[in-house]
Symmetry: C2
Amino acid sequence: MKPVFLYDTTLRDGTQGEGFQLSGLDKLRIAERLDAFGIDYIEGGWPGSNPKDVEFFQAAKSLKLKHAKLAAFGSTRRADTPVEQDAQVRLLLEAETPVVTIFGKSWELQVTEVLRTTPEENRAMIRDTVAHLKKHGREVVYDAEHFFDGYKDSAEHALATLQAAAEGGADCLVLCDTNGGTLPHEVQEICEVVRARIPGTPVGIHTHNDCELAVANAVAAVKGGATQIQGTINGYGERTGNCNLTSVIPILQLKMGLTVVPALENLLDLSYYVDDVSNNPHFARAPFVGRTAFAHKGGMHVNAVKKLARSYEHIVPQSVGNSQNILVSELSGQDNILIKADQLGLGLEKGSPVAKAVLQKVKELEHEGYSFEAAGGSLELLIRRELGTYTKPFDLKEYHTSFRKYRDGHEPVCEATVKLYVDNTPEYTVAEGHGVVNALDVALRKALLPFYPEIEAISLVDYKVRIVDGHDATAAKTRVLIETTDGHQSWGTIGVSENIIEASWIAIVDGIDLFLQKKRK
Amino acid sequence: MKPVFLYDTTLRDGTQGEGFQLSGLDKLRIAERLDAFGIDYIEGGWPGSNPKDVEFFQAAKSLKLKHAKLAAFGSTRRADTPVEQDAQVRLLLEAETPVVTIFGKSWELQVTEVLRTTPEENRAMIRDTVAHLKKHGREVVYDAEHFFDGYKDSAEHALATLQAAAEGGADCLVLCDTNGGTLPHEVQEICEVVRARIPGTPVGIHTHNDCELAVANAVAAVKGGATQIQGTINGYGERTGNCNLTSVIPILQLKMGLTVVPALENLLDLSYYVDDVSNNPHFARAPFVGRTAFAHKGGMHVNAVKKLARSYEHIVPQSVGNSQNILVSELSGQDNILIKADQLGLGLEKGSPVAKAVLQKVKELEHEGYSFEAAGGSLELLIRRELGTYTKPFDLKEYHTSFRKYRDGHEPVCEATVKLYVDNTPEYTVAEGHGVVNALDVALRKALLPFYPEIEAISLVDYKVRIVDGHDATAAKTRVLIETTDGHQSWGTIGVSENIIEASWIAIVDGIDLFLQKKRK
């Protein structure tokens, strides 16, 4: 049996964080990645809280998870309501997940002031709901909300609620530091008490980062006997976020000798993937997986580092998929590119001149601020160009954008013109748009349509902008990510430039270009 | 005596972090703010490592610190060199700071492999250097580099190096987790051993965040008997950063009952100040001081929060200068604005209709993405407008920008035109620029110069761009910060818009407008 089980709540508690939104499709894709990485439990959402989560669990029935168990999240039954008649509990069963996680109140103050019921009824709500879910064959995880605050207020009351869950047959009792205000030594001590008082049921830990101690508190809980850790990828979550699994996993595996995932070297890819899907910038200073986590700068002599790496690095960077001196190659390494080429059906032999040229080009572009994690379309074009299977669809002569702002009360006007050649035939178009970029997209399509009527089928569905480096005013780069679709498939393309208009142009052109390359075959 | 002393190294170790650069002037301004906040020690730089730090300490002699002691950082003497002849040690004394901090090697492996000397000579280097600095009247802090790694490798060797520093007369022995790989329980245990073995000298702690445990390790050290904590504001520093003082200070003061600063409610302002001066985005999820640290979202009923705030917040947000439901007012509160108006010599009476109107306007603008911490110029204009002491310098009719990109090999052309009236006299100008914004700035000055020849004296010295919210593609805002100078003084102005050109225009106009308002008096 695993020494510690990993319970991911990126899809539920993670999405409570500001700026971390996921579509239903995003959630399915992330669930597959979490499963492939070796996460044990994936909490998908709260079917009782919104119809979108009900839909998610419907769609998730077609997911083929190899290892992970999917969990639906919800609460105990309402006060004074038989559990069989509780609509929210029914939705939990209808999600048809192997695991159901329910939270209940541990803090007497909350029972009387928020629930407005008695401690006895509160315990019955916990016991009944767990027993009901067990009767329906579910593995039941019990989340003891506000456990540490409740324990400090009244230890016996808090312990009695856990006892109720254990009596109901709970498979794991998760102690939640809901407000994130508990210190590590308190967490460890209280875990030890719980293990001693309720020895028959495994204990888990759910922490928040309000004191910048979420990871430390999870580690303290493991030292106190906890065998399940709840958290999120990159630490997303309500307020300051949840326990960052991206940090806790390598600590368990590399520092504490507890094997929790089969291939820790995939950690960096997973971390980038979640950020790219949710359109969040990757945190450069992130422990283990950050771009600067193993950067040697400052007064450090690179020779000394090379001579004696272990004296300047607390772990081998490759063990988490990262690398030393990341500035040369910001992404996750060369093998990654070869694997992607293979997935696209574009054969690239490791060590061949073409493969070397592709890798060189990718390195150069990453150094300029490109990132291909969410721009597979641009990566595919880059490989096709090196393979010699690429035909240029048009020659640009020039494009022009204009923005005119009038005195208050008069709408600004955005206009773009495009002048290009297709097989020596000139085309010159003009269009207006909601913004400069929109105008440019419309003008370009107008110019290409007579030659490539098939582009009528495709459209731009997503547009994301990010400043890559805001520190040097004159050299700040803008990164534009665009998603183009033909109604069946969609592909991401990227442009980077000091000028936002130019960056957008590059990404728009790639989006159309890739479609034309594929159509041509 | 204070239970724990705070040692800030934002100006030295902080600037080892990627993307965290400070000019000499920035460093002086931050030192004043750290002092005002109640930091005990401010490490200003390493005079032996670069001439800029020598200059900083020269300039710092005119700093009037009320509480903090300034520290110069450096290393022990070189092997086989008498300390009196060591150039780097001489520079440390020439910095003329009351405190000197020197680091030495604790890890035997590093002594033999990097220094290439003997353990005996290493200890002599430590002892001699400390004694030499003490002889010259300095308070000496000894940073034991790689202490925890060295201790785990050979405890006796590591302890002997501390003993050598104590023999030299060191005032504090700081245990450094240089690689950031140590776990909290190890830190506490090892601190306890050091306190027992070398009881005469206080112990400090210097941690890094490579395992997301820097704050936890500092807290563990305090539990192990440490009485000095080294760290940086907002956790900046090499690789993943240093111990975040912005988190550790409220933990000490609010959770552990150790009073370390006189007015913790100024914490949020200090945190924003350091970010704005270094042009870093403030981390929304930051514990205690983040914009979302006390945000209630998710399934949480706002009524329940209001009813029983302490059951949903681990501390009172105002105790660190933050506030609940921060989305209404993202900045640090109303009093802050009144204090700033007072500093500008613009009387604003608390509760007066004008003050209310200003506060309302500030709130609205902050909600749109404005931030006035580094844009005092725009704030001053806003107050002047409400006070009725403002005269509009010109009426805009329209402006226009154009960007034309040719096929590869031909430079793009940026052009701007401005059409405006001053006292009903029209002016219509055109200019080219390096970029769209530069062209706009030049064209505007050209239009105003005939009416306001005094603007010849001012120029734009800094331009910073940031995407405020990159999540919703259509609503992403661009924030532009501009610094304008007349050669004596400089002032910051801000513009926010969905369009980068419009945001830049707003900031440029404010920069010139404020100058004209002041000249008019």
